[in-house]
Amino acid sequence: MKLKKRSNEAKPQQLVPGNALTRREFLRSSGLMAGGTALGLGLHPAMMCRADATTSEPGTAQQIRTICTHCSVGCGIIAEVHNGVWTGQEPAFDHPFCRGAHCAKGASVREHGHGERRLKYPTKLVDGKWVRISWDEAINEVGDQLLKIRESSGPDSVYWLGSAKHNNEQAYLFRKLAAVWGTNNVDHQARICHSTTVAGVANTWGYGAMTNSYNDIHNSKSILIIGGNPAEAHPVSLQHVFKAKEENNAPLIVIDPRFTRTAAHANHYLRLRPGTDVPLIWGMLWHVFKNGWEDKEFISQRVYGMEEVKQEVMKWTPDEVERVTGVPENQVFAATKAMADNRPGTFIWCMGGTQHTIGNNNTRAYCAFQLALGNMGVAGGGTNIFRGHDNVQGATDFGVLSHTLPGYYGLAEGAWKHWAKVWDLDYDWLVARFDKESRPGEFFGEEGGTDKITNPMTLMGIPVSRWIDGVLEEKTNIAQRDNVKAMIFWGHAPNSQTRGVEMKKAMEQLETLIIIDPYPTASAVMHDRTDGVYLLPAATQFETYGSVTASNRSLQWRDRVIAPLFESLPDHTIMYKLAKKLGIEQELCKHIKVENDEPLIEDITREFNRGMWTIGYTGQSPERLKKHQQNWGTFDYTSLKAEGGPCDGDFYGMPWPCWGSAEMGHPGTPNLYDTSMPVAEGGLTFRARFGVERNGVNLLAEGSWSKGSEIRDGYPEFTAELLKKLGWWDDLTAEEQQSAEGKNWKTDLSGGIQRVAIKHGCAPFGNAKARTVVWTFPDPVPIHREPLYTSRRDLVEKYPTYEDRKSFYRLPTRYASIQAKDYSQEYPIILTSGRLVEYEGGGDETRSNPWLAELQQEMFVEMHPRDANNAGVKDGDDVWLEGPEGSRVKVKAMVTRRVGEGVAFMPFHFAGQFQGRDLRDKYPAGADPYVLGEACNTAMTYGYDSVTQMQETKASLCKISKA
């Protein structure tokens, strides 16, 4: 009953939430009563405070260790929780990856505990309105829909779109759920971020992952970053880059069409035309070969096919490189010489290299460059591929992909049998789950294979980049019984995918659209559906626990910070509930304890420990992971090795491969293919994956082996046969012998073969050469091909794209037919895209965080002053940006020399506006993000990688006009 005394705090703008949970109030009020009394005693207040704080502070507040959920660096977080309220966030100074550091996103994760803009309860769309429903209703209705579609169109008509935001356990369970549902139409963000890397790199030397680690960059003598902007995408990684730059005097070379924030700190900056990575790398290698800078000994011992690369490279004379890439010779030379003079050098790439129709060529070219300089398998060298999401590495490893099972086992019958065994399921039951009456279309059959009917179980599913075509394409053109009828968006932002206008159409054609996410995402609003959409609130990773794999392959254990907010549920609980409705919960959780519909995370970890032999996810038991987390301060900042303490000798997070079973105590492998250490201590050789010889040439290593190896030469992968041949069979225990009989290192569930191989100093997967020629790929030696939408028509003839393909991942895929048409006159500006530091991915989560949203309130397009003047556009003007497929976005112009002439750049985190239309009122009440904007990918165009269906987002065309 008082006139409100107006406080002098900011009157929040309309966007700002009301009172957030007050942090530390309990602590404050309790702890400082003592301070008050102390004052009375006449002691100096400042002194008293300090003394008081040290004595009274702990006790009530709980400190919980977890890992940032924003990017793959995997920064540690110490969360202060009081009575279940997340009241504080302290820097984890002893965390080996970040030393307490955070970027804008990491420094604001506590806002998850406020969750003002979260989805709060399950809702469904009824006549265009969001209606609240209960979880039971939601699961029932969703399950009925799915079963109905399964009945009418087969299991392949339900698309399971998973997430790199799941922890390892959830990702694994998700892949298993899709498998027991009976489809390979399952995928996640890795498809559209580093799938070309995984394919390219794995096909070069065995594993498709970052070879070294962020911390290992400390050892680098030179650093090359191409197509990556870690200053915004992985800010904390620059801590390591700068350490090398300053202390090792390492030149930092940045190659990018954009003068990024990373480039601002570089010693050499090369501005290339988008989509010309291969020519530039070959141009650099040209100087290497010309000057004899290649590491000849390394190549002869450990590399296959460098001669073929050299032949291609020699076509890329400096003139031609400049003509195609726009980078003059002296710059290319300077960068090359800096790399050659300063070895080992590390090679870092990100989306700028991968998201192209020739993404796999790019990644393989990078690998070839590092192999030529002998920078592989050495501390300070390697290809440090910065992954995107916090657990995209883990989700990839667990095969939340349409072309493989967990552990990259592939989809062949053997792989299915392996996993059936791990899951303790009847293989025939599993087969029966899949479509049998498949009525393949006229183009049925994988390309290059026969047109025999293939079991959909072993047929690669539709990738996430193309799900819209799975809906929109003529039924007869798709290599499955029916179109996709139901989409399950489980932690996926649709605006990270291209062709927004067609996506809208696809969403409207679906029978059911199910969105499971902590935030509504653009999936909830970008279509004009009036029903058949379900929004189910998932908990964030701070509201559950489990392991997460950082980019450097280290597994870190997250503890639960707070209980799920509102009515949200952890993903694995939702999976179980859904499985129960679908009648497959017994199979899904056969050996996993379930309590209150929540499968026990540790049991899931143990289950995948039993099956993930290929990439060594077998040694990281939950107990070991928790021990690492509790003792993360004992690991060295550079080597990541624990010196003393409970984890003595281990590398932090046991970077995979962590061979054998947990009992074996393998420390993890900090740097892949590093022969200077015994395999038992983290050393490795290149994997023997591609056979032992080709065209009479030996594919195994020659004169190179890992330290302590008893086989002092190359050797193939280990099988029971090989053990017997080597006379090491008897090193297996009787039980192991029983299990290993007829098996190899990948399928022996006892782990005996791995144990014995390592005991003798050998890598279980063999010791071979890396290959620079991938003879199974469309371009065995990476070559340049112009983007589909290219502004350089003069180069199309010499560097044409691929022929159209009739069936590729079940879908017809166009290349030449698009490139044939000249759009360069009407759409003269090259369009590329990338990240902002404040936002992540589709941005729904970060745009709902007021601390971040305030810093980026408007979607924009960067354009060069010349282009701006030509279009009559001034800085800050509204512009229409239209892509050659006719879709357009209305954004603010930011006129800057950050981009080159003829290039425009847009960040891709925005959504909530669609071709000039504001969709804010379509969000469920109270769940609209603070900042909305046009999704850049609305205007992005067709174009998919020739191996992985990676979407092209880095080189398209557009025109810009004043709005």
Partner: protein, 209 residues
Amino acid sequence: MARMKFYCDAERCIECNGCVTACKNENEVPWGVNRRRVVTIKDGVPGERSLSVACMHCSDAPCAAVCPVDCFYTTEDGVVLHDKDICIGCGYCFYACPFGAPQFPADGAFATRGKMDKCTFCAGGPKADNSAEEYRKYGSNRLAEGKLPLCAEMCSTKALLAGDADVLSEIYRKRIVYRAASSLQRGVSYQDATLRSPSGLTGRASSNE
């Protein structure tokens, strides 16, 4: 006693805005008030550098000099604080401050800006009683807990340093020494590539050092 200072190393600052959100996180600063900001000069062109700026806790603070109600004071740690119960929101400190540190919560139409708000070096308010009221007005008091400002503690590249001036200068001196060597040897090229790398090396290089 210690003289608390901030130092931002422009060679390392990458404008990740971690300091900005860390401050929001620690102090629950509302939308529109930013006690810290990152300023980038030469944005988008060679020479681009960023600096994280907040109250610098000047030894002879101009804000304190011009305040008509004398609400500023300097703690024994050298932290410049102000008393919001005294502040009348006149904005003079904002005119005087070289760094643009003072912030005002209201929109300012007709000079009703509300009480000034600024970086407290995470040292709370004048009463230092760790009360909810103190927290609401001034944010947290980390110094009392033996911690330094969260912005600096969380800086992604360790560009922003906070702490005792002597210690900071020692850290910075070390970096300067490394960099001096680096620049001497290599220089900076950006697009006008210079071939200033040491000559005479023939390919095999410093790999075994």
